[in-house]
Structure formats: structure tokens, C-alpha cells
Amino acid sequence: MVDNKQQKDWGTSYGEMVWKEFAKSKFTLCWLGFIILLFLLAIFAPFLANDKPFVIRIDGQLHWPIFKALTASDYSILLAAIVALTQFVLVLHNRKSVDPSIRAGVLWRQITISVFIVLVGIILLFVFIPRRLDATDYKSMVASGKATGAVFAPVPYGFGRTDLKVREQPPNRQHWLGTDDVGSDVLCRLIHGSRISLSVGFVAVGISSIIGIIIGAILGYSGGKTDFIGMRFVEIMMAVPVFFLIITIVAFFPRSLFNIMLIIGLTTWTDDARFVRAEFFKLRRQDFVQAAVSLGLPLRSILFRHMLPNAIAPVLVNASFGIAGAIFIEAALSFLGFGVAPPTPSWGQVLSLGVSTTGRFLWWLTLFPGLAIFFTVLAYNLVGETLRDAIDPRLRESV
């Protein structure tokens, strides 16, 4: 039996190098931790803030209301989280047991399979999990003694439940962060709102990155007439006022989170395209590219397997800033009233309630969502900046 503990001396890969540089800043690591915390918040939101109890005994029978009421999107998020975690573990495993020359290919295959599983899973979940409605007032059941042994979530409120009597109350013992204009609990809405913000960030940036990479790669590689015409097209996209484009399109399509993500993605790819194009300009003169061309490799392969890995760095950095930007845009849209349909919670929407029409400063409706947006955006910006510094070879101390 081969002793795998025998250290295979593969040296440090590019990814490891970047990570080491990145990890040098403890400050940024804290913020990375904050981002992970946010993710956990978003994934487990229905368990953290819910007006239904985990378990309750009614007439002797045990019921599990929270679990019964989980929707297809809740399950999808859990599925995506599990798959992402698995993928992460696999990456670590790859570092130890897979030869670096084939590591990239293995990684690609793993990522493709993961994405495939997630997508198929989401589709199946949405098809098979029925939509349920459970508006039973469990709290009053407990209060009146009809039910016993109820275990509620830490924040025992639903984000859509209204209670006009406690409208616009500042933070107190019942509502730790206060209530909004129809009496919904603010903390609950912020927790569920993290889902919107984070998912908008990722999906929108994912879409814009993919489009930007493809277009940038083609333009950067071809040069000449293709590049000229293509750049005119890119300039058109850059010159169209993005915000108005978004508002017009949002008005056109029905209000859904996915539409907003799609629109933000479709309108912000120009930066990525420019970066990739610039990188490809510099790269296409290099020897390894010329070699690949003379070998007769297919264009797709040259672009994406050979050139792209070298050009991807600015895209990754921009992705981090892009996520921050997407969160900003979503908050602005919700603030202006063009975001997701109510009562879906969104940080921007809660923020828009912050100053009441009387000029009375409802500080808890301004401060907390503002802080949430601020910290999240700050976290992504910090991570992006540290990542950029980590990738920059000139800042690296000699290995």
C-alpha cells in the first residue's frame, strides 16, 4: 500500500499562492468570515425567523409546521449550499491527491457536474414540491392552551405577517429591531432580505461575467474589423443609460427576482468585456498562443482553455466589486419602488421606509438596513481589493 502521507512535492499552485497572499490580511479574513456568516443567514433564514414553530403538539399529535411549509426555493437553496460545500471539500481534496497538470481539467469537470446537479435539482424541486399556505396562528394556540410543547424559531415572526397595532415601533423587547409600516418585524425582514441581496449579487454577476468574458475574448482575440464593429456595439451598451434601461425593462416584465437579476446581468457586462479584451490583446502575441494556433487547435479551445485562465484574474476581482454593485443597484431599485413585489423583503425596500412622510426620522428603518447594505457591500469591496492585491505579482514578496 502506497503511503499517501509521503508528501508529493508539487510546489504551490497559482491558487494557493493567491490564497496565501490574501490570507496575510487578517482584517480581510474577518470580513470574509462576515460574508460566510451572511450566507449562513440566508441559507437558514426560514429556520431563524419564522412565525411557525419547529415542533408543536396539538391534541396529542406532533406537528412539524416549519418543515412542512418549506418551499421549493428553500429546498433549492439548501441543495445549492450542500453542493457548494461538497465542491469546496473536493477542491481541498484535489490539492492533496490530484496531479497539478490535470487538476484544472478535473476541477472543470467537477464544477460542471455540480452546476448540473444544482440546476436539475432546482427544476425537479420546483415541479414536485407543492405550494402550501399555512396561516395558522400558532402563537395564539399556545397562548390559549390549545397546543403545548411548541419550539419557536429565535425570531418568531413571519416576514409577511402584518399587525397594524404595532406599526412603526422602535426596537423593543418584542421586536428587537422594531417594526415597519405595516407592523412586520424588521429583524425578520432583514434576515430574509439577505437572500435577495446575496442571490442578486451572485446571479447577476455570474450572468454579466459570462457574457463579458465571451464577448471580450472574441473581440480581444480577433482584432481588426471584428473588433472594430464589436467595440461599437460595446460602446452602444455603455452609452445607453443603464439605470433607465433597467427601469424600462422592469416595467415591461412582471416583477420577479430572476428578472431583476437577469436585467442587471445583461446591462453590466461591459466592464468585464473591456478587461478581458485588454488582456487578450496582450496575450495573443505570446508564444503559447501562437503555438496553439499553429497546432490547429479549435478556436474555442484556444480561447477558453489556453488564454482565458491567464486573463481571468481581473474578471474575478471585478466580480467581487460587481457583486457589491449589484447589491447597490437592487437596493436602489427597491428604494425607488421597482424591486421585488411586496411583501418579499429587501433591504432597499426597508430603507425606503426610513424617513416617514412627516420627516420623522424612523431611525431603526434607516440605520439597520443601511448598515446591512453598507457592511455587505464593504465586505465584498474589501475582499475584491485584497484579491486584486493578492493577484498582483508586483506586490508579492518573493516565495
Binding site: 407543492p130 405550494r131 402550501r132 399556505l133 399555512d134 396561516a135 395558522t136 396562528d137 409577511g160 405577517r161 402584518t162 397594524l164 397595532k165 406599526r167 409600516d181 405595516v182 412586520s184 416595467a251 415591461f252 412582471p254 416583477r255 425607488l336 419602488g337 421597482f338 413585489a341 411586496p342 411583501p343 424617513v355 416617514s356 412622510t357 412627516t358 420627516g359 420623522r360
Partner: protein, 581 residues
């Protein structure tokens, strides 16, 4: 490379500096230009308003029989409007109430108007008016000593000109012309008397014709309709104020008509500003920048209890005869959910209207209407009480209508269709959104899933017109006395304003009969029956109707709340408290 980039940067810098300087100059220039333009217009105006005939000021009040307003002369009233009007011609603007406020009653006047404290008409420009017993002839006699602000006397020619202009198909006044399509022809008797012959009897015809604001023919006559359509500013009329200037984007200024035929108001100028942001509007009031605003319900509810605020400002709350509308949720009867009236009634029982009034409007004077008429008017049946908030009753009604949760998913269904509908609202209207969220929550407890469907206003209007909704929330404006035909008659279902497809032959008959009944008592009796039908059928869930609210600086005196509203012309500021010269 060295020298190049240095020179380049230098030029870039210079370029920027030059642009900034030019920008600065153009700002100054633009303002100077506006000033010059305004003074020019002002000069033209004053030339135009120089009386062409001597004005017998002493005679005027006696001739018109109108009382003088009390108080000291002077000061300005600075009022904020929620939006800038598009034009100051009041029949070109269709849904712009702000321009109506600005011009009707101030710059232009109509032949008749409502008494301030009774549901009766009285003459303004007209001395006598009547409608024949068969309702087909309407007669007006103009006062003797009335003239436009330039001194030109008012005659029936001006009335005829106004009428013809409205009816001219090339003039962009089609919605307003709609009110007069029952007119067969007019008959000018002499310079002061005129008769209108109607094609059919309609109880509102007198009000419509008499409510026309009279435009001076000698100023507004046109060869090409475009001239008139595009004339958005410089209105000239008979009223107590004349137009002084319009700084687009900032303000409109009206100046007292020193040449007015009737009792002159005491306030010398009216300045209208357009701060749209409601918070900024309130701040402007508090800082003294404006004197008179229309607050939103939350603002009123809060300031109403603020003793400090009330030291400097009035919190006015009054029922306005010309703006007696109500807020409603409409259930589209063409959709499977709401065809059955039991379901509609159930929905009404699910909306806690009392809580809306107490917590969202926070206005104890708001009322829950039971029908479409003005709640304190004669058309409404005072014995009908609103349905109570009762979730259990709602559930029972739903059960009776056949909507039962067969498959245990928490949502009621019938014939395989789950009770899940889209509730359409206009985005960016806080009140609509709050009420919608309330309805959604309440419906969930009854096993109905409501999906909120917000659209921005332009799309929203289109969808309402196309009847593409399950449920919608909107508000109608109203009058002290109105005709329910356009909204409730079955003929209006396709393209008219009957958006919820209400179709009740009994109601139709009542509406048609009432239109032709001139005797108010008989007519109101018919309307009481119609009201009862609406109450039973619940095509809308009527949410609230509320009085108008205003904040006004306390330096204004003689602010009286009449039964049918307030009259800004009565106000004055005592000399020692006057703010503007």
C-alpha cells in the same frame, strides 16, 4: 513622449477650466434671460390689462350683490402643489387637478357655482339661471357689470366662444367636451342672455354648462387649433387674480386683479411652488418657505397632536364638495374567483377597514363608505351600514360558495382551481401597498393566496383599461352630486370605466331612470335603491373616504370651514403679521 503628455495635460486642464467658466456664465445668462423674459411678459400683461374703459369701482359690489371680504390688504399666499401643471388652460388638462385649482375660481370663473353651505347653486358670472320643467332648455343671464381683467366686458359671445372651442374636435379637449354632447344647439338672445337646447334630459346638464369657465374671445380666438392647444400659459380671465409669471420648474405667480368686477380678495399675490417630495414639502412649511400644503395622512395624524405645531399652523380638515372620492378594491367579475357575490362579500369581511382607518390613516374623521356617493350627500342612503370585519363569516361564505380546501395544501379550491389570485396595485403609492399587504395577510388566514402585483403607473393604467387583473385597488374622485352611469352601467363594461364588469339589470334601469329625473327628491330615492344594490353585490370593497386635509400658516385669518369646503378668497393677513410686501 515627454513633452507630449505634458502639453496634453495642460490642454486638458485648460479645457476643463474653460468649460466650467462657460457653464458658470451660462447659468448666470440663463437666469438673466428668464428674468428678462418674465419682466417682458409682465410688461405686456400690464399693457394688456390697462383698462380700456373706466372702471366704476364703487358700483361693482352693489351691482353684483356680493359682499366685500373683511381684513387688511396685502401679503402673499405661498402654496405648494404636488406637481407642476402642464398647462394653465383648464380644459386642455384632463386629470390635472392642480391646474384646475390654479385657474378655476382664481383666474377664470364660471357662470354658476355651489353655495358654500348648502347643496344649491348660486350665480357667479350669471345673475339668473334656470332649467325648464322638461329639462330641455337651460337659460343663463350674465350680470351687467362684469369684465375681464383687461376691462373688456363679458358677453354671451364669450360664452359661445368657450363652448365652441371646447366642442371643436381639433382642440385637445375631448374629455371635457364629453360633458356637453347632449347639447343640441344654443340660442343667443342678446349680449347677456343665452339659452341652451338639450337633446335629452339629464339632471347634471345645468351644472355642467354653468360650470364652464368663461374664456375671453377677443384674446383667445384662433385660426388654427394648434395655436390654442399650444398656448399653455398667460391665461386671461375674469377672476380675482391675474397671471403674473411662470418660472418653469419653480413657481407660478398670480397677482391680484386690481380691476376685478367683484369683491377683491385681500391677499395680493399667490405663489405656487412644486416641491414633489412630501418630506421636503413639510420641511418647507416648517421653515417658512411655503405657507399652505396638502399633507399626507401620516403627516396630518402626527402634527395634529403636536401642540407646538398647532401654535403656528392650522390643521384644516374639511369635506370638499369637488373632491369627495373614495378608495376601493375592485373584484373582476369576469374572473372565476369573483363571479359569485358571496365570494366578494367574503373578501369585504376579510378587510379590517376599521384598523386601516385607525392605524394607517390615523384619521378618526375618515369614514368607511358603503357605496359610491358622497357620504354626507343626499344621494347616499344613510341607513346602510358597512359590513363588519369578520373572518369567521368570510370563511363560512367561502364554504357556501364552494371554495373548500380539498387537497389539504392550505389553499381553498373549487373544480380543481386553487384560490390564488393576483392583486394589482400601482407601485410607489405607499397607502396602496400597505393596504395590499394587509389584505394578503388576512386572506391567508382564510385559505386564500394573494399575490401582489405592482406595476408602475403607466403600465398599471393600461392594464386596468384592458381589464387584465383579478383584483385592483384604486381611488375615484367624486362630486357632491354625481351620475353613476360611467362606472356602473353595464354598457360601460368593454371600453368604459366599468372595470370590474359589473352587470346588474336592475341597477342599469335605476341609473337610466335617475338621469332623466329632475326632481331631486325622486331622483335621490332612486339612488338610494341603487346604493342598496351596490351594498348587496359588493362589486367593490369600499375602503375609505376622507376629508381633505391642509396645513396653513396661522398668520392667515378668516379661515372658515364651510359645509362644502373652504374658500381661499376669504382669507387675509393682519397688517402687523404680514410677511411679504
Amino acid at each position: 513622449m515627454n513633452g507630449r503628455s505634458g502639453i496634453f495635460k495642460f490642454f486638458l486642464f485648460l479645457f476643463l477650466v474653460v468649460i466650467i467658466f462657460l457653464q458658470f456664465l451660462s447659468m448666470v445668462q440663463a437666469d438673466r434671460l428668464y428674468d428678462r423674459l418674465n419682466t417682458l411678459i409682465g410688461r405686456l400683461e400690464s399693457r394688456a390689462s390697462a383698462p380700456t374703459r373706466t372702471v366704476e369701482k364703487a358700483a361693482a359690489p352693489a351691482a353684483s350683490g356680493l359682499k366685500d371680504y373683511p381684513g387688511d390688504d396685502g401679503d402673499w399666499l405661498v402654496r405648494n402643489l404636488e406637481g407642476e401643471p402642464l398647462t394653465l388652460c383648464d380644459f386642455l388638462a384632463t386629470s390635472e387637478w392642480s391646474s384646475r385649482w390654479i385657474v378655476s375660481g382664481n383666474i377664470f370663473e364660471s357662470m354658476i357655482e355651489y353655495e358654500p353651505d348648502e347643496f344649491k347653486y348660486r350665480g357667479r358670472l350669471a345673475e339668473k339661471f334656470s332649467i325648464s320643467d322638461d329639462g330641455l332648455i337651460i337659460y343663463f343671464k350674465l350680470r351687467d357689470n362684469i369684465w375681464f381683467s383687461d376691462g373688456h366686458p363679458v358677453t354671451t359671445d364669450d360664452v359661445i366662444f368657450t363652448f365652441n372651442t371646447i366642442m371643436d374636435p381639433n382642440i385637445d379637449a375631448a374629455p371635457y367636451a364629453n360633458y356637453f354632447r347632449d347639447v343640441d344647439h344654443y340660442e343667443k338672445i342678446n349680449d347677456k342672455e343665452i339659452k341652451f337646447h338639450m337633446k335629452k334630459v339629464y339632471f347634471l346638464s345645468l351644472g355642467y354648462l354653468g360650470g364652464m369657465t368663461i374664456y375671453p374671445e377677443h384674446i383667445y380666438k384662433y385660426k388654427d387649433a394648434r395655436e390654442f392647444n399650444e398656448r399653455r400659459s398667460n391665461p386671461v380671465g375674469t377672476g380675482p387674480y391675474v397671471f403674473e409669471k411662470w418660472d418653469v420648474g419653480r413657481q407660478i405667480v398670480l397677482r391680484r386683479n386690481e380691476n376685478y368686477w367683484g369683491p377683491k380678495p385681500k391677499v395680493k399675490r399667490i405663489v405656487l411652488t412644486f416641491i414633489t417630495n412630501t418630506t421636503a414639502e413639510l420641511q418647507a412649511l416648517l421653515s417658512g418657505q411655503v405657507d399652505y400644503i396638502r399633507p399626507v395622512p401620516d403627516q396630518y395624524a402626527e402634527k395634529h397632536n403636536d401642540e407646538n405645531f398647532k401654535k403656528d399652523f392650522y390643521c384644516l380638515s374639511y369635506w370638499d364638495a369637488s373632491n369627495t372620492g373614495y378608495f376601493w378594491i375592485g373584484w373582476n367579475e369576469a374572473r372565476p374567483f369573483f363571479a359569485d357575490k358571496k365570494v366578494r362579500l367574503a373578501m369585504t369581511h376579510l378587510v379590517d377597514r376599521q384598523a386601516i382607518r385607525d392605524h394607517i390613516l390615523r384619521n378618526p374623521e375618515a369614514q368607511i363608505p358603503t357605496g359610491n356617493f358622497y357620504i354626507y350627500g343626499k344621494q347616499t342612503d344613510p341607513n346602510i351600514k358597512p359590513w363588519p370585519y369578520d373572518t369567521e363569516k368570510a370563511k363560512k361564505l367561502l364554504d357556501e360558495a364552494g371554495w373548500i380546501d380539498h387537497d389539504g395544501d392550505g389553499i381553498r379550491d373549487k373544480n380543481g382551481v386553487p384560490f390564488r389570485f393576483k392583486y394589482m396595485i400601482a407601485a410607489d403609492l405607499a397607502l396602496h401597498e400597505q393596504i395590499a399587504k394587509l389584505v394578503k395577510d388576512a386572506a391567508a388566514s382564510a385559505g386564500i393566496e394573494v399575490i401582489l402585483d405592482p406595476y408602475e403607473w403607466s403600465v398599471f393604467s393600461q392594464k386596468v383599461k384592458d381589464r387584465e387583473f383579478d383584483a385592483v385597488s384604486m381611488a375615484w374622485g367624486g362630486n357632491v352630486e354625481e351620475d353613476p352611469y360611467q362606472i356602473w352601467h353595464s354598457s360601460q363594461r368593454g371600453k368604459g370605466s366599468n372595470y370590474v364588469n359589473f352587470n346588474n339589470p336592475q341597477a342599469d334601469a335605476l341609473i337610466e331612470q335617475a338621469r332623466q329625473t329632475l326632481d331631486p327628491d325622486k331622483r335621490n330615492e332612486l339612488y338610494h335603491q341603487f346604493h342598496r344594490i351596490l351594498h348587496e353585490e359588493q362589486p367593490y370593497t369600499f375602503i375609505y373616504t376622507r376629508p381633505e386635509q391642509r396645513f396653513l400658516s396661522k398668520r392667515f385669518q378668516n379661515v372658515i370651514i364651510h359645509k362644502l369646503g373652504i374658500n381661499e378668497l376669504e382669507w387675509y393677513v393682519p397688517a402687523q403679521s404680514q410677511k411679504y410686501k
